[in-house]
Subunit: 141 residues, 2 copies
DNA sequence: AGCATTACTTGCATTACGCAAGTAAAATAC
DNA sequence: GTATTTTACTTGCGTAATGCAAGTAATGCT
């Protein structure tokens, strides 16, 4: 997986990295669903295939968006953790959810409506900061 | 091109629509580069292939993100215009540029640094609103 | 010791993307 | 008014990304 940048446009270059069907979904699952192991991701609602997951985790590590480590008392389970670069994707994820709530519902009536959506709509910046803070407290011990 | 939604998560559903290599690039070109015809997009720096462009424009029309029309004095050139749903993608695009400026530069040293980036960093909300306003004034006559 | 779990890899089918060429209709040039 | 160019595509084909099912190796659990 060698990412080639199409040009020098910052927007296009970000899409070159995270512009696929799975990368942001994995980051979302880490930030908002507490997933951190291979198994966690495999068992998610979106049902990513294990080969795709494997290649994406590798790519995310290469770009320093996540780190991979083992806990001292378990030599089997890998723990994937978002770096600062990774949690900084939260504003993008928040905007995706806002756009969805406003414009996707029309085409997808079963879209989830929950408390988190109301919070992000009423206090976007606060929600982003709190999600990041909570993630760090829980995972950056 | 039939978009199937993977699940009821708002974030995942937005990625189901715009999560590919080209969709957001086309929207960016409309909002920030003034492109509006097939030719405009073909001639862009990113150099999209004409068959991909064609299929994306169709998809964007189906999702009501853009409209297609002809000017009264020209029966050949189609004008593509962002709808309200389309311009509402601007916050996502702004966040992509911010993340890029902060975290992509490390891997892509030729990344463009321009006035627009400074503006978006200093006054994100203002920049988003002004870009949308300017687009509407120019294209929604 | 034996079974289950975790984190993968491998093989193959399908869908997305990239490149080159071709086409039809309208606009422009002569 | 005929010829050339322009615009907006489509078609064909090769490569890359994704999806699905099965297999594997090492660790942890009983």
């Amino acid at each position: 997986m060698k990412t080639k940048f199409r040009c020098s446009c910052p927007i296009t270059s970000t899409v070159d990295i995270i512009g696929d069907k799975w990368t942001l979904i994995i980051v979302k699952q880490m930030l908002t669903e507490g997933r951190k192991t291979f198994k966690d991701f495999i068992e998610s609602e979106e049902a990513i295939a294990s080969n795709i997951l494997s290649s994406r985790l590798k790519m995310l590590e290469e770009f320093k968006i996540i780190t991979k480590e083992k806990l001292p008392d378990n030599k089997k389970t890998n723990i994937y953790t978002l770096t600062n670069k990774g949690v900084d994707l939260m504003p993008i994820i928040a905007e995706l959810s806002i756009w969805s709530d406003k414009h996707v519902r029309e085409f997808h009536s079963e879209l989830y409506s929950g408390e988190a959506l109301d919070i992000v709509k009423n206090n976007k910046e606060g929600f982003i900061q709190k999600t990041i803070e909570d993630y760090k407290l829980e995972n950056w011990k």
